[in-house]
Symmetry: none
Subunit: 133 residues, 4 copies
């Protein structure tokens, strides 16, 4: 199961509203279950965080856990974690990438924010997945 | 001068309406004057055309002409044109990538559609730049 | 807003004079606000630092802060920071890449030196941005 | 033998003067005998031709002939030439890349222009190698 464009657009818009309420210039990416981009908005953020948002979303969906959870798994491997971070064209395990599940609990995509603090980015991304719960 | 997110979102939405009116599953990308992504929507197209849309938009903005115009320039060089196509991480010179100019005539970004015929993609992209003219 | 060639050449020449005064064989790169090369000089440095100079300049402009400031942000994320370093075709967060702002405070590009110590490279790059202040 | 920075800067400046006299917005690259960048100027050209100029200069120096001569060699191989164009991270065999030789006839680098017609780019690059003859 893959998230549809309509649902991705809904999620993106909720995240955009949250980012505007927090007044933070972020980039927000929504990817499908295959990690491929489906909707994206750069709210006048610096362009360096475009790739951060996409990589956080891909990291979440490809391991089936929020981005910072994958970070904790890798940290447990200490220096050896470098190899994992370097895989799949580069993971990004800072908080802010969250998986999107459908009503049946299956992962259908992920959404990620980048440009704020890890906590702010996580808050923005989490706001957007309420719609699917 | 760079296109703002608000203007990019307006352009994207117009292109989305056009694509829905034509009933074609496309991907649409908006990039700024440096070729960096600012807004993106995949209307349930196959994911192979995501990169097509981004590369068409980048090709347009980096040479300052619509994507198929760059294609004509390269075609004039016969076999040697392949070297140009291979530059800049890969050009895509099929129609559908159009430059976005501000009122003063300066290029501020580009928008591209991919997933339809070259003519349809061009129609979708061109619909979106009316807002800036 | 993008730095013009004339201003980039001025900045480059000031940095070259500084490097000669310090008698260090460096490479110096100036990029525009989109991270694209605009002026470059390799003062008989080893060629390995060409990419260092370009990546430092791009790191500065794409995050809107001097290269080592981005390094400090990433260091705060411990091991997870490696993922950020791996993004955007590779960041370089050693000192020596500095943003260039216009009179209005907008970032119009960046200049970076590589080949000296981080402190020397920073001194060389900083000398060049005086012209815009 | 490698071209020094001083000689590369002289060549670049002559090419810049020629481009200004022709009033064409080009990018000009000088590489050493190993194909590594030594001096570069983007005279407010579109950024797509940065890579063209660098690839033309590298194509010239790595085969020891001007860029369009390599193009003629490849054209003689018809469709099979594609493979050659695709080698070495991409050749560019349009005119405008010329080898630089020292007094003894040894190739010490190359200079290339891009942004004009092939004939104009060749004229600009050729102007710059007079200094070494």
């Amino acid at each position: 199961m893959n998230i549809t464009y309509n649902d991705a657009a809904k999620a993106l818009n909720i995240a955009i509203e949250k980012a505007k309420a927090l007044n933070i210039p972020v980039s927000i990416a929504v990817v499908d279950s295959g990690g491929h981009l489906i909707a994206f908005a750069r709210l006048d953020s610096v362009y360096g965080v475009i790739d951060f948002a996409i990589k956080k979303a891909r990291t979440a969906v490809m391991f089936g856990v929020d981005s910072e959870v994958m970070g904790s798994i890798i940290s447990g491997a200490d220096l050896q974690g470098y190899g994992m971070l370097n895989s799949n064209d580069g993971l990004l395990t800072v908080a802010g990438g969250v998986v999107i599940k459908n009503q049946g609990g299956n992962i259908i995509g992920a959404i990620a924010s980048s440009g704020g603090t890890p906590e702010q980015d996580k808050e923005i991304a989490n706001a957007a997945i309420v719609v699917f719960s």
